[in-house]
Amino acid sequence: MSPKHKIARRAARELQNGQVVNLGIGLPTLLLNHTPEELEIFVHSENGVLGMGPRCPLNQAHPALIDSGGDYIAVRSGAAFFDSALSFALVRGGRLDVAVLGALEVAENGDLANWIIPGKFAPGIGGGMELAQKARRVIVTTTHTTRSGAPKLLRSCTLPVTAKACVHRIITELAVLDPTPQGLLLRELAQGIEAQEVLEKTEARIILPQADPPRF
């Protein structure tokens, strides 16, 4: 299993029956491939749908039915469509239980940077700032390091933040970590990974648990 699917599979376990969930573009959308059949969640997409299903093949695609990433999707029973103002009223008004987001950087206190690299990458803000700042629970799914091996989990963000102290949990292919004011609390380790590897690949301070952490 690829690191991304490993992350998605672990992250899918965060979701609980009845929750209203937004899955960011990219890795977070993979969660839908790993949720158990019996889990009933309502997936929100910023462009105005609650109750979206998975991406769909050409013969089922409807030209007026996409997710916020532009991909054609199906909807599940109980879905509803609405305009962009209501879509974000749901987010800012506190009715989004969980947002699963990608990250460029996460700081040990939960600051998230995922929208701009000044001078290099500035495609826009999108819905990410409101999701990060207002979802009741923010879960970051990300590879533990950049492609070149640089740490993404830092003492503090070097990039402009999307929102401060907003991340509740970070899930990487190596570990599950919860931001705290004192550093990242190591909650779980991936199968076959030792804490030492996580320490080496992380710039943020890491708080090790008393006992051996559970494996995922």
């Binding site: 462009n47 409807h62 469509f81 803000i125 933040v161 929102a163």
Partner: protein, 236 residues
Amino acid sequence: MPPAIDKTTDPATALARIADNSSVMVGGFGSPGTPFTLLAALLRRAPQGLTLIKNDANEQGIGVSTLMEAGCARRFVVSHMGLNSVVIEMMNQGELEVEMHPQGLLAEKIRAAGAGLAGILTDIGLETILRDQRQTMEFQGKTCIVEPSLRADAALVHAARADRWGNLVFEKTARNFNPLMATAADLVIVEALEIVDIGELDPDHIHLPGAFVDHVVPADASLPDYGVLKHHVAQA
């Protein structure tokens, strides 16, 4: 039906009042809800110096991007244009002035204009670099960003169904910014895939009443833009 009630016309007639240097809102989130028929007709008029307002930049060669590629726009108010490297490059080269907003706030700014409000108070972006470019105030013990409402000279709107007076029904995720923009411009032009007689739409399920609409034109359903874009379909 007296002419005062029948707002149907052709795109060229409806668009005639959009002058150079106008501000123009364009509905749609990605392709769904983008008024492709109206945009194609506007491109033929080749206005100059437009301020365009849309959630996104569509994609290269599609929708609102064609106006920017043709040099019709001076300014672009947008939330995200991640699927359009051409417009990002125009921004980076200084050929296009870009103003970016968080997506939901862009929607709220437009809606606020439609509701006759001068502005809204929000805490979104307060701890980010956005704050540097925005007015803040203390209100009830908290710092807020004051976002001015956003109105335009014209709005181009796509609906699934319209009656001849402009009562509108949208479909699936093609609703998005369309009903909001239709409240927030001096001239509101709607294209509809289907135009029906007054009385055929269920009054409980009209998404926007015709009072907000100035012109209704038929969408040219033969445009490929209204179909499924294959590059966005999941690979088997």
